[in-house]
């Protein structure tokens, strides 16, 4: 078609493979090198090559479609929740108790919001120090073999079905006692621990060796180096790890179904008493009972939870981009 030399078309199908190669080369590498003399004919692919390029194009189109599909699903889910949830949302929704009868309209989800906040705060307070210390152990003290073993354990812990963690805590804290917000926090802490530990470990590995060596050369003891050099340098990354773990834990429902699901719908901030109301269980319960008014409150609750989680993961991501240490 676009023969730069205006050659007659009969030279098109030369069987010489070398010529084939020459016509292929520019196609794969970018714009054709027009300043070279070309003896072969038109620079348009034909026959076999055209088929190969078509396949390549089709594959690219398929890959693009798959990516767009994933983004579309995200968009549809977020839009569905936002559309139905935003109409319910009001100041009263965030500050009122739910109505006594699940089927009646109005009311809010204040107890669930407070409960989730308390449960998450307690879970973070448990998981964060242990996670950071575990990460420190992996980077500062563990040998080759033991480091590997501990990492494996953390990865296995991370891969456990969360409902199994719920069963464990049920057997540990609830059997013979009663459900409590603390039991929920404990389970969430187990779920968040490997996330915080592994992500923190990655950041600690990025602390420049030079800083450590400088501290060593000054005769600074190990623990002072950790406290004064390693942890402050990695602070941003540790914060990111924690925020992302909180985002993951806040939506975790399965353990809470077993551990903090039978609750009175009034605001309570005492995790050690009875079960604490919380947003995930609230949505789950509403979704299992077919009440239109319950559904609309659940959409509102889902909207609140989703906004929190998406914001947390965006904040986590931006933090990690800004902190110089993480990639």
């Amino acid at each position: 078609m676009s023969d730069p030399f205006g050659r007659p078309p009969e030279t098109t199908d030369l069987p010489d493979p070398a010529v084939q190669l020459m016509t292929e080369e520019p196609e794969a590498m970018g714009p054709p090198a027009t300043d070279l003399p070309d003896f072969s004919g038109p620079l348009t692919p034909s026959g076999h090559l055209r088929r190969r390029q078509l396949i390549s194009r089709l594959a690219e189109v398929g890959q693009t479609t798959a990516a767009l599909l994933a983004v579309a699903v995200l968009g549809i889910v977020v839009y569905s929740v936002a559309e139905r949830g935003a109409s319910v949302l009001s100041l009263g929704f965030l500050t009122k108790d739910p109505p006594l009868l699940a089927g009646s309209a109005g009311g809010g989800i204040a107890p669930a919001i407070v409960g989730t906040a308390v449960i998450m705060a307690l879970a973070t307070a448990i998981a964060m120090p242990i996670g950071i210390l575990t990460a420190l152990y992996l980077t500062e003290f563990a040998g080759r073999w033991s480091g590997r073993a501990f990492r494996l354990i953390l990865d296995l812990l991370n891969g456990l079905p969360t409902i199994v963690v719920g069963l464990f805590v049920f057997g540990l804290l609830v059997v013979g006692h009663h459900q409590s917000g603390f039991a929920g926090s404990f389970a969430l802490a187990i779920i968040m621990l490997p996330l915080i530990a592994r992500a923190t470990q990655e950041v600690l590995l990025l602390v420049p060796v030079g800083l450590r060596e400088a501290a060593d050369a000054l005769g600074v003891s190990h623990w002072r180096t950790v406290r004064g050099v390693v942890l402050p340098t990695a602070r941003g990354g540790i914060l990111t790890a924690t925020v992302l773990a909180v985002a993951r834990g806040a939506g975790e429902t399965a353990p809470l179904i077993l551990l903090s699901s039978i609750f009175a719908n009034t605001v309570s901030a005492n995790p050690f008493g009875q079960a604490l109301p919380n947003i995930p269980v609230y949505i789950f319960t509403a979704s299992e009972s077919a009440e239109a008014n319950g559904f609309s409150r659940a959409w509102g609750a889902a909207f609140v939870l989703l906004v929190f989680i998406l914001l947390a993961s965006i904040v986590g991501r931006t933090l990690s981009r800004r902190s110089t240490l993480s990639r």
Partner: protein, 328 residues
């Protein structure tokens, strides 16, 4: 930064020795605390296994391994017979279908993000795909019942039934939108971002020279992918798929919401079912008898074992072929 750390040697004798003692204690304390924390993680895993076996023991001694092969589930006191066959089937089918759909999708997305998309598009779509993994399962399940289920019921299921109805898996007339099919698709949505983000990192780590070498020999972009990128990262992708499988097997909440809680083994995906995890989430609150709770713990034990196996497989495949699993 290290303003608080003073050089021990420059201090007068008494103070210096005090600092040295403090340092020695501090070092020991830090080492001890860190080790304790790391051991806690090990302890947690061990305790989880112990407690779950412990909770399941009445059911284990009552039903033994036969629990896995019969499918009667009658929790009411005169019967009290429990069997997990239908649940194992439901778990296997939903996870299998989810993996079947999500592996090609996720690989395609990863290829798009690592090779096709321009840099700027990449930095937008990549985080969006990962954000899909951040949506809590309870919200996805809620959406699955109220939005996605009706859509499936009205459009996709009748279509598949009329076109591919001769296949047993699409054989039944679609009824409610809840069922194995819906559960599989929701699981697909949850698994795709996991496999995609690991695979993308793997594809990005395939040496540039290999790809350019292939391109220089005249390979098209797809041929570079098929001949160089995929073979050199195949084991890592397989490990990622194992991790995704582990996630799909263990997902309780979203599946409970959309699977419709049936206890029969159906060939058709359009019918209801239940999985190991969803049965626990569904019945635990209402469980009354000791044997029922023990049976639910038994389900948890099965989940624990297959979940661990999937994760160990992922580690093993990833390590054996010397590809770093970039995810965790």
């Amino acid at each position: 930064m290290s303003g608080s750390t003073r050089l021990a040697g420059t201090l007068p004798g008494n103070a210096a020795s005090r600092v040295r003692t403090a340092d020695r204690i501090g070092d020991r304390l830090l080492h001890g605390l860190c080790m304790l924390a790391a051991l806690l993680a090990v302890l947690a895993l061990g305790a989880i296994a112990y407690k779950v076996v412990d909770g399941a023991s009445p059911a284990i001694s009552r039903f033994g391994l036969g629990f896995l092969t019969h499918s009667t589930w009658k929790p009411n006191p005169p019967f009290e017979v429990f069997g997990a066959a239908a649940l194992v089937y439901g778990t296997a089918v939903t996870s299998f279908v989810a993996l079947l759909l999500s592996v090609p999708l996720a690989i395609s997305i990863a290829l798009y993000l690592s090779m096709v998309a321009p840099r700027r598009v990449r930095s937008v779509i990549g985080p969006l795909v990962e954000m899909l993994a951040a949506i809590p399962s309870v919200i996805l399940g809620f959406w699955g019942i109220l939005v996605f289920g009706p859509f499936l019921q009205a459009h996709l299921e009748p279509f598949l039934h009329s076109v591919l109805g001769f296949l047993p898996i699409f054989g039944a007339t679609p009824t409610t939108g809840s069922g194995l099919f819906n559960a599989s698709l929701i699981l697909t949505i949850m698994v795709v971002p996991i496999i995609a983000s690991i695979s993308r990192d793997l594809f990005l780590s395939v040496p540039r020279e290999l790809q350019e070498g292939a391109a220089a020999l005249g390979a098209t972009r797809w041929e570079v992918v098929r001949g160089v990128v995929l073979p050199s990262s195949a084991s890592g992708v397989a490990a990622a798929a194992c991790l995704g499988l582990g996630r799909a097997l263990g997902e309780a909440i979203a599946v409970t919401q959309v699977i419709g809680a049936g206890n029969l083994i159906h060939a058709s995906l359009f019918q209801t079912g239940d999985t190991l995890a969803s049965r626990i989430a569904d019945q635990f609150q209402g469980a009354t008898t000791r044997l029922q709770i023990a049976s639910l713990f038994y389900l948890g034990l099965i989940l624990l074992v297959i979940g661990l196996l999937a994760n160990i497989a992922a580690q093993w495949i990833g390590r054996r072929f010397d590809v770093t699993v970039a995810a965790q």
